[in-house]
């Protein structure tokens, strides 16, 4: 039977995809895995084109070429700084594709759908449309085209419920309708879903973005899987479900790394909404050790770096904002050339998407075996002479373990406070996204080097003796 042949072919393509994902253990394997998955999908496309007679080949080819060419062009030009915004944008495009397919399938009079098919169609349509608007919003926030802080609308939860109810009601109506009323009802579902995605995403922002982007990853996959059920295509279902699984895992990993429940992230808006975040009375200025000038602090920091034997660098979103990753990487290389042991400690939620810091530092040519995970690096802090914090606050705030009821209490942190000395290259002394004042700043072992991280790190770098054959200019590249 030919159906057995098609099943076997589909299974082979799925096996190739699985083999591709399975190689995501090492960076080199990931590259091969990515190519493997691309080949699998290319085969699937060729197969579908071969098995089906295409009625308007010109239009099909044009849409494919335009979409593919724009995708390739953008992908070649995007910088690693723009990756979070770009990935969010792509989640949105995935939502559009799923939504559009579901729309056409639902309005076709000549393909009567089963009940399951119809329900899946509505789900694909609604989830796809909501993924689109949520992702566009996320992308705009990540590209700093709109303010990154969460916006809570009056009656936010009520609004979400009303939109959900409207979508459900319109779907019920559409199920019984046909012709123009059907199309209008589906357009209504689309509009309400777009509004839903917007309202849903608008109150998530700042350091919670990794959760939002992971969640949209999952919903884009889910929308594809529902489309697969409508058109009874195994490959769509399998791929969609795999992506949904991946997005769900990343969402869970991000929530765990912040010690916050998923629903809290989605509904609470900013963590600081919690009452415990009431601005702690600013500790009297007199409590601070000695008011140092920035110049004094810089001089002391330079001496500390010169004398240190081991240095751990902790990057945060502020490093990406300042665009300081190349300077940081150059500083790390210089310290290594001076014979010091240098590594990077990367918190799982540092940055604005899962793994954000790793990609930025890889681009700056930092060896990936120097990028160490939290659990692996934490025992090393007490033996470390200097930690250099660049644009990170909440992920190194000891209040998370020392104080019981702050919004970050219980969140696993990088134990920078255990190192002998800590240098903080942050823009200012303001708390991180959580709003919890960073008690690390008050420790006598901490030296605050406030100001633009790029300038600060360049200053530190220039103070270190250049080895023969090492050009300072490499930073300028």
């Amino acid at each position: 039977m030919s159906s057995w042949v098609t099943l076997l072919v589909d299974l082979s393509i799925i096996a190739l995809l699985v083999a591709g994902i399975a190689q995501f253990r090492t960076p080199r394997g990931a590259r091969t895995g990515n190519a493997t998955a691309a080949v699998a999908l290319l085969l699937a496309i060729l197969l579908v084109l071969y098995r089906n007679a295409i009625l308007s080949p010109g239009l099909l080819a044009a849409a494919l070429v335009v979409g593919g060419a724009v995708g390739a062009l953008v992908a070649m030009r995007v910088t690693m700084i723009q990756i979070p915004a770009m990935v969010a944008f792509q989640h949105g495009m995935g939502g559009v594709a799923a939504s559009a397919i579901a729309f056409v399938e639902l309005t076709r009079a000549h393909t009567p759908l089963t009940v399951v098919g119809e329900v899946s169609g509505f789900l694909g349509l609604a989830i796809g449309a909501a993924t689109f608007s949520g992702s566009m919003l996320a992308s705009a926030k990540l590209a700093a085209k709109m303010k990154q802080t969460p916006t809570v609308l009056p009656g936010h939860n009520g609004l979400l419920l009303v939109l959900l109810a409207a979508i459900a009601a319109l779907c019920v109506y559409a199920a019984a309708a046909s012709g123009l009323p059907l199309q209008l009802a589906l357009a209504g579902v689309l509009a309400a879903s777009v509004a839903l995605g917007y309202v849903f995403a608008v109150r998530i922002g700042g350091a919670d973005m990794p959760v939002l982007i992971s969640f949209l990853n999952a919903t884009a996959g889910l929308a594809a899987a529902f489309c697969g059920i409508v058109i009874q295509n195994r490959l769509l279902i399998a791929c969609g479900a795999t992506v949904a699984a991946s997005g769900s895992i990343l969402t869970a990993v991000m929530c765990k790394a912040m010690n916050r429940h998923f629903t809290k992230v989605l509904s609470g808006g900013k963590a600081a909404v919690a009452p415990a975040a009431a601005p702690a009375p600013k500790p009297a200025q007199a409590e601070k050790p000695v008011a140092r000038t920035r110049e004094d602090a810089m001089e002391e920091a330079k001496a500390l770096l010169r004398e240190s034997r081991s240095v751990i660098i902790i990057p945060g979103y502020g490093m990406a904002l300042a665009g300081a990753q190349f300077e940081v990487a150059a500083l790390a290389r210089r310290l290594e050339q001076m014979g010091k042991s240098v590594s990077f400690a990367v918190h799982p939620v540092a940055g604005r998407m899962p793994g954000h810091m790793n990609v930025l530092l890889a681009e700056a040519d930092v060896d990936y075996d120097k990028l160490r995970e939290m659990d692996e690096v934490n025992p090393a802090f007490p033996e470390t002479d200097v930690v250099l914090i660049v644009g990170a606050s909440d992920v190194v705030n000891p209040a998370a373990i020392e104080k019981p009821d702050t919004p970050i209490s219980g969140m696993p942190i990088l134990n920078a406070h255990e190192a002998k000395r800590a240098l903080v290259c942050n823009l200012d002394e303001r708390p991180g996204y959580s709003g919890v004042p960073n008690s690390l700043y008050d420790l006598p072992s901490t030296l605050l080097l406030l100001g633009d991280a790029k300038a600060t790190v360049t200053g530190l770098l220039q103070s270190l003796p250049a080895e023969a054959g090492v050009e300072v200019e490499e930073v300028m590249a």
Partner: protein, 105 residues
């Protein structure tokens, strides 16, 4: 009915296999992982192509072309970006990956 059961089975199996495999991906590769799964979810391109296997009105053609173009954008863009990103990761004992960066010693 058998079809429905098969589809649910495919969904559950894929979710399960995906879950096991992806749980083992190190945090180091989370960004490329998300970008590759994004490209994989552009498998909707198959659904978009299939729309063109049935006679369509002009409105349907427009919507179908939108589905095709957005899926193709994700498919090509996702795989290309992932390739660039994974090419950036290197160690000094591993000269690998030419990435897409010019002039690296």
């Amino acid at each position: 009915m058998a079809d429905l059961a098969l589809m649910l089975l495919v969904f559950a199996l894929s979710f399960g296999v995906g879950y096991v495999l992806i749980s083992r991906v190190p945090p180091l590769l989370h960004t490329p992982l998300m970008s590759m799964t994004n490209a994989i979810s552009a498998v909707t391109i198959l659904g978009a192509i299939l729309l063109f296997a049935v006679a369509m009105g002009p409105g349907e053609k427009v919507v179908g072309a939108i589905a095709l173009a957005t899926a193709a954008f994700n498919l090509v863009g996702g795989f290309v970006i992932t390739d660039r990103m994974t090419g950036l990761f290197r160690t000094h004992h591993e000269p690998a990956g030419n990435g897409s960066r010019p002039g690296n010693s």
